[in-house]
């Protein structure tokens, strides 16, 4: 008949198993990561979330127009607007060439006289078949796009008389 193992054997066995507790797979950790699971982030908006940046939102003041703002606007326009509106703003971008309804040209009298807030709201919430870009373009970048669209409009209606002598002399 076997004698029961002495306590030291049991304690030793348990102590030997302790390091094994560290052997979990650290490539998968139980933490908040929107893309950690096969399911993506939930489509439903959690309760208590306050929506902002809707059309008519004037919480973001118009920033001063600087060359940096215009360059940022150029980049954002190229990324998000040019596929339909085209780099020149004539509304014949590649997606329009592939069948998307053509938007009106940006450099029309109507749009040139539209207040900046109106252009900002269209970028934010869309207009007609154009979807809103609130989720993709940050508020400050939307103002940059508006500033760039203004520059685009002016560039296509420039008269020689509008230029200063220095600008005319420039190559």
């Amino acid at each position: 008949m076997m004698r029961p193992a002495p306590a030291i054997v049991w304690i030793g066995t348990v102590l030997l198993l302790v390091p094994a507790a560290g052997c979990d797979d650290m490539t998968r950790q139980n933490k908040q990561n929107p893309y950690a699971s096969r399911e993506t982030a939930p489509a439903d908006i959690p309760s208590g979330v306050v929506q902002y940046g809707q059309p008519g939102d004037t919480s973001r003041p118009i920033p001063p127009v600087t060359i940096a703002l215009l360059e940022r606007g150029h980049t954002e326009y190229h990324v998000f607007c040019a596929p339909c509106h085209a780099e020149t703003g004539n509304g014949r971008g590649m997606i329009v060439q592939r069948g998307f309804p053509a938007p009106p040209p940006l450099a029309t009298a109507d749009l040139m006289s539209a207040p900046p807030q109106r252009l900002y709201d269209v970028v934010t919430g869309g207009w007609g078949v154009m979807y809103g870009f609130a989720q993709r373009i940050a508020p400050d970048d939307r103002w940059a796009v508006v500033a760039y669209v203004r520059a685009l409009q002016r560039s296509q209606h420039m008269m020689l008389a509008d230029l200063t002598p220095e600008q005319r002399a420039a190559p």
Binding site: P34, R38, V79, M94, Q135
Partner: protein, 217 residues
């Protein structure tokens, strides 16, 4: 006196020696080479997706910028997968009846996200951040390969720790001017600043980029 070894002994010894060498070589290959193979690392595998999205068509064919869909890449650790809303920006008007896009339309109608399969999945102990890389001149292509040539998306580089460290030890040659970060098939030309100048312009080099805590927390 009878022979000590029978005529079969030669065969047995030869087979044993060849077998032993085979086991050792095979064991080394299995232990060291196999886990490092592109097959195990899934490099070059096109993964089954709910919609067979073609980067080749959208990027090379239509000229859509990476950021149109991966819009948080400049501001966030994640480049982010586009929500169905982004797909429908165009597909609410074009290819509206395509059977291929039924999953996209159903997703919008049912308010149910499309569950894309991950192409590159870093371990959870790696805290990779997209925004710092694109703002310091690392091109998308440096890690993701020429996505504009992928009809179905696959992992183009190993993305192992070795891959990360190779660049973190000497980032210069992998840097681009900011204007070219999102370009595909980009190569430095005569007008490209010298790697050392790019490093200085991006203020890289003040901190040791191979410190553990750069990537691990």
């Amino acid at each position: 006196m009878a022979a000590v070894f029978s005529p079969r002994a030669n065969v047995i010894v030869t087979v044993t020696i060849i077998g032993a060498v085979g086991v050792i070589v095979g064991g080394c290959l299995w232990w060291f080479a196999w886990p490092r193979s592109d097959y195990v690392r899934h490099v070059g595998w096109a993964i089954q997706q709910p919609v067979p999205f073609s980067h080749q068509h959208h990027v090379a064919g239509l000229g859509i910028d990476c950021r149109f869909c991966h819009s948080s890449v400049e501001h966030s650790a994640q480049a982010s997968l586009p929500p169905t809303f982004t797909c429908m920006t165009c597909h609410s008007q074009i290819w509206t009846n395509a059977a291929l896009l039924a999953e996209v339309r159903n997703s919008l109608a049912d308010n149910r996200p499309i569950v894309w399969a991950r192409v590159t999945d870093l371990p959870d102990y790696v805290y990779f951040n997209h925004s710092i890389h694109v703002s310091k001149g690392v091109g998308c292509e440096n890690c993701h390969g020429n996505v504009a040539r992928m009809p179905l998306t696959y992992k183009a580089r190993t993305l192992t720790m070795q891959f990360c460290l190779d660049c973190h030890r000497d980032p210069g040659p992998n840097l681009r001017p900011l204007a070219n970060v999102y370009d595909m098939d980009w190569h430095p030309d005569g007008a490209t600043p010298h790697p050392a100048d790019l490093m200085r312009a991006y203020h890289i080099g003040g901190r040791n980029l191979t410190e553990c805590s750069i990537c691990h927390r």
